[in-house]
Structure formats: C-alpha cells, structure tokens
Amino acid sequence: MILAAKPTGDVVVRTAESLNTGLDLFILSLLLTLMAAVSVAIISNRNMFGVVILAGIYSFLMASVMMTLDAVDVAMTEAAVGAGISSIIFLATLHLTGSMEYPQPRSVGLPLFVAIVVGGALVFGTYGLPPFGAADTPMHTHTAPRFIEMSKDYLMPPNMVTAVLADFRAFDTLGEAVVVFTGGMAVLMLLRGKRKRLQGQPEDVGFDARSPVPPNAKADTTGEAS
C-alpha cells in the first residue's frame, strides 16, 4: 500500500527520514494516542451503546492513520465499513439484545494474565520487524519490483494497486470475493433460518426507523448516569 500509485505511474517510496521530518510523525503520534485513549474508554464503559459509538470513533481515527500513511484505499474501506456499516449493524444488534453489558466478573486475574502475556508477545514481536518505512525489506525487494517493472512494461493501468490486485494476482482476489460470499452466506443462514422456524412473524417487523433506539436502551442509559 505504500506503493499506492500517482497518476503518472511513478513509485512513491516513503523512507523513515521523510516521515520523521514532516508533520506526519506528530499527526501519527496524536492519532495513536487518541486511539489508545478511546480503547481505555471502551474497556471501562459498561454501556454498549456508548461502546459502539466509541468503536466508530476508533475506526475513524484508524482511517486517519491510514490516510497519513498514504493508503487512501484502506482508509476508505476503514471509514465505510469499520466506522459506518459495522456501527449500524452493532446498533441493530443492540436493538435485539439490550444495551447493558453483563455485570463485571469477580475474578479478573486469568483474563488479565492472558491479555498481558499476549500483549507482551506482540510487543516482543515488534522488535523483530524492520525499521518503519525502510525500503530495503523483503516486502519491497522480493516481488514488488517485479510487479512495478511488469506494470510499466505491459502498460498496465496507472494505479498499480489495482493492477496487482485485479490482474497479476486476480486469483487471490477471487479467493477474497469467495471469502466475502461465504461469510455473508453463513451469517444470513444463522440469522434467517432459525427465525422462520421458531417465530413465523412477517418480514418487516422490527427495526423501525421511527424508533432506532429501543425504549429500554434509554432506560439503561439513564440508569447508568444516575
């Protein structure tokens, strides 16, 4: 994604130096700090309605990070799917389940232990990564130059990401489309199959635009505030 193309087909490789000298580092630090703050707020919030809104904010911050890293298409996906559609689907789920989390479990020792071990392993893993933005990593020296050369030689469309995704590696993208298809089918079977057998209600009952927040969700919110 760092190779996201300019209209001329030139390759833009951002090095660590160019990132550090610009405003980018400041903006990135600010966004990542805000994301950490939002994560803490999500953990401490017991009202699921608030958690969904905070998760949307988190996704928008993530989209801004992707914009800062010049990955515009990832940012678009994150904003549309992460912040937009999944928030709506979470809200629709809250309409079905109620918006209060179960009371906090008494013992937090084991979950805390697992979280610290996994988090420590991930942080330990980052020490094995190449420096951020380095251009001489295997990712940029193995197949990427071949794709760049080929898309010049064969006069591919100027957006190299599209050329790689839909032409050089079209088979991978077919697999992704099949994954989306399978996931959608699985969720649809779970959601629709059971309902017809158990309840047999008409189709359009339910999530009505006139009352997007169920009445008991409001009651829960006031209960939280008092």
Binding site: A4, P7, V72, D73, M76, T77, A80, V81, G84, I85, I88, I89, A92, T93, H95, L96, Y154, L155, M156, P157, P158, N159, V161, T162, A163, L165, A166, D167, A170, F171, T173, L174, E176, A177, V178, V180, F181, G183, G184, M185, V187, L188, L191, R192, R195, Q201, E203, D204, V205, G206, F207, D208, A209, R210, P212
Partner: protein, 138 residues
C-alpha cells in the same frame, strides 16, 4: 427519524453524492485509489443511510431484499466467469488478454469486470446483513 426535517433533507442532499462517489471509486479505480471493495462498501452505506432515515420498508422498495441476496453469488459468478471466458479464448484462467486486440484495453476490460464482480458481492453482502439484522424483531 422519518419526521426529522434536518436529517431527511440532509440525507436527500448527501445520498446522490454517496452513490456517485461509489461509482467513481469503482470506474476510476484504474487511475485513482479504490476499487470494487471500497465502491461496494460505499454504495451499501448509501442504501443503509436511506434505510435509517426513511425506514426499512422504503429501502426494501428501492432495493428489494431478494435482489440484494442474489447479488452475493452473482458477483462471485461474474468474477469467476470472467476468468472462464479468458480460458475459452486460449489464455490462462483470469488472463484478460483476449478481450480486446489492444493489450491495455483488454486488461482494463478484464479489471473492470472483475472489480464489478467484487462490488456486487460486497454491496450485496453488506446490505443483506443489514436487512437480516434489521428484519429480526424481538
């Protein structure tokens, strides 16, 4: 939200631009950032916004549920079928060189068809997920 004037007018103002932007992202994906997945997500977001403001019934009149659910396999079939057409023209699976005498045009056509398949699948999946959740009353 059907009675909220500001939301209704605002949504009516924004909706055409959302849909046009989705198709811009789709058809301009060769030159600018984006492609089928992004376009599908944006288009589905537009329809879901319409459903939120004007009610799920109105949205199902505009984009019927049965159409949305059939879009999911249709996109995958379009993608896979594009590859099969390439095979019948004597190239490898998903090699688009035979679609047009000009090499660049042929591959643009192939990429466009394949991305259209992705768009149809993604938009169909997201919209039918929303319909499925919204249609499940308590």
């Amino acid at each position: 939200m059907r009675l909220d004037l500001i939301l209704r007018v605002g949504a009516k103002l924004i909706l055409p631009f959302i849909l046009v932007f989705a198709f811009y992202v789709q058809f301009h994906g060769d030159y600018g950032p984006g492609g089928g997945f992004q376009a599908g997500a944006i288009a589905a977001g537009g329809v879901i916004l319409y459903a939120l403001i004007f009610g799920i019934g109105k949205a199902k009149e505009a984009v019927p549920q049965i159409l949305v659910e059939r879009m999911i396999p249709t996109g995958v079939l379009l993608y896979a079928g594009t590859g099969v057409v390439g095979m019948f023209q004597g190239y490898h699976y998903l090699n688009y060189t035979g679609f047009h005498p000009d090499y660049l045009r042929a591959h643009e056509w192939g990429i466009l068809l394949v991305e259209l398949g992705v768009l149809i699948t993604v938009a169909g999946t997201l919209m039918s997920l929303f319909y499925a959740f919204a249609g499940r009353g308590r």
